[in-house]
Symmetry: C2
Amino acid sequence: MGEFFNVVESKKVYEFISNLKSIEDSEIIDIRESISRVSSEDVIAGEDLPGFDRSTVDGYAVKSSDVFGASVSTPAMLKVVGEIKIDEEYTKALKEGEALKVPTGGKLPNGADSVVMIEDTREAGEYIEIFKPVAPGQNVMRKDEDVSKGTTVLKKGTRINIGHVALLLNLGIIKLRVSRKLKVGIISTGDEVIEPELERKFPHVRDSNTHSLKVFLERLGYRVNRYGISRDDFEELRSFMLRSFEEDDVTVSAGGSSVGVRDYTVEAIDSIGKPGVVIHGVLVSPGKPTIFGVVDDHPFIGLPGHPSSFTLSAFTFLLPLLKRLSGETDWMLRPTGKFRITDNVFSRQGRETFVWSKRIYEDGEIFVKPLMFKSGMISPAAQADGFIRIPAGVEGYYEGDFVEFYSISESLLI
Amino acid sequence: MGEFFNVVESKKVYEFISNLKSIEDSEIIDIRESISRVSSEDVIAGEDLPGFDRSTVDGYAVKSSDVFGASVSTPAMLKVVGEIKIDEEYTKALKEGEALKVPTGGKLPNGADSVVMIEDTREAGEYIEIFKPVAPGQNVMRKDEDVSKGTTVLKKGTRINIGHVALLLNLGIIKLRVSRKLKVGIISTGDEVIEPELERKFPHVRDSNTHSLKVFLERLGYRVNRYGISRDDFEELRSFMLRSFEEDDVTVSAGGSSVGVRDYTVEAIDSIGKPGVVIHGVLVSPGKPTIFGVVDDHPFIGLPGHPSSFTLSAFTFLLPLLKRLSGETDWMLRPTGKFRITDNVFSRQGRETFVWSKRIYEDGEIFVKPLMFKSGMISPAAQADGFIRIPAGVEGYYEGDFVEFYSISESLLI
């Protein structure tokens, strides 16, 4: 069997990714279509929010100096000059000794600096008795307290979520410049690989990898070109790659698991241009045979062919790479949390090891159960809601140890 | 100000949701388009996986009885009858005293029951010296060990993820029956509410709620009809609702925050049919003014109008409801994890309280920081990656306490 050249720790992979150039193309879209897109500009608020001093409770707008020292035994007595609804304003200025009834969200009149909660008052004809003092500013949101005009409300490189959409729309910002959608080319390789609808006889393996990755990446908002299955043939593989290097921003290959195919893959990349293959083999399980290359700022990533390894490597290496390429600031893989593990797990020969796992909810506590089956099994990924990591140099974990867990849906970060 | 009737704990809301009827319509789609859809059938494997006894290492297929007691000082000596590639098979049966060189993933010949790793051997002409014994089945995945024909590989009510897609395609399963996409109708209410592109003068509030929810739900795979903004007028609101009850599977309204509008909303629902409004007010912050109703199995949910409360209530109440309606088995809100909190937080008057929060990664540990700003602020949701929960009856948490955290992206569970 052939050997790997240049096997590196995963740290080197992330260095490689961080050195990649993000795509420069951007487009202006409607905020209402921007969820999970990546902002390619800083956005500055052009207005204050809420835009007026606003009551945060149901009560009476007052001058705080008028209710200083008020108590149940010695209530302050103020004249009620009116009541406003949420969409009304009191156009005069509140004078000493006066109170205006305001609802939650209502606008404070000029002259008022605070709001007494309705629970701390009692109506008394044209007057109101107030049983509790308020400090200046109490129960009030100042006109620029939520957002102050000129503030950066969205940073370049942010993946847009529902909270950003709501904030920008409230500020009247309708258009946003975002990175163009990334185009990802996917190639499957292997003489034994067949389309999934075909009958399977030995040595056939159905191609799930490129299909599952395609639909997954499309859900994440990427454009995907699937080039089908290349035979174990240098020229065919190279022609598939050339098409993807022409069409796409990044090229991904799946499998083959045999050493010969890996060699073709390396040769094909190196034949396209410089520097070609940069990393050939990573000290990680699964994912050891992963290949990374780049030609003219177009990265290539060759993932292992076993479906379980393929999907896990897509989470650990491909998604961070795609985020980086889209210009996302937070592109690095991050653990969802740390949980006690229900069973012993061991690393593969001291390598950094990822294991499909599932959170278990029991008696108000959360545990993580490793789905430790044999290498090459496909079913564990279908039972997992994430995976754990055993760092390089750690032999393993014992039942009850805290381990890093990475959730599948968190990896999406939409 | 009006009072709430029938204010209940959130437990009652989840009981209401669990009693809703899931939609019955389903459709058959290609597995390659099924990510985040909900299976409406159990799927049974029609084949074994991997389908043949397979080596999990590079090595020599042997009869384990031939290498019993082998050691470095007394190696077993077997005749090498050949070498197969991953796509080849040895068509004869392995006899006593014979070994066949096999790659990882290679097919075991008949007669062999285990594989000796290449590291534990040394070539010696036509023979191979073996320095370590193997147990029967060692380094072998049996033909039905990954999936056994007849096993249920996907349960009804499962939301499909990339692992399911990969497994089903490997089994040659191309079509899947899934719940029809849910149709969600969204109505905004309020005299003060304007479209976000319009200039804002007091008392205008721009409608972010229905727009942000629409794009968010569409990303989750729902169909959304946005009916625009209804004035604070019983007849107009009722006509919007009637249209949605006609068109959609579920109707959502946003705001208004004033008591008068809530009353219209209740009247409008009650005027459509029985039982009408079932829950009017929940002991939860934010989300107290939430309304739940149902007419002819069509649920209605009225969410609070403040954008921050609206979005949080959409996570805590609306998403579970939509999952339940789609037939998902795991529809209930679930914490992502528990983390130490960086600041003190307090509940709102002993009510169950949710607070927008953000995980902080520091020195290999994960903390959660509550974004505790004033009620009605919109900006915290744009800085959060989730929210924490203070259960009913808990006054609050102190810095360093473990608290339940719910991640925004986890709530999606794709």
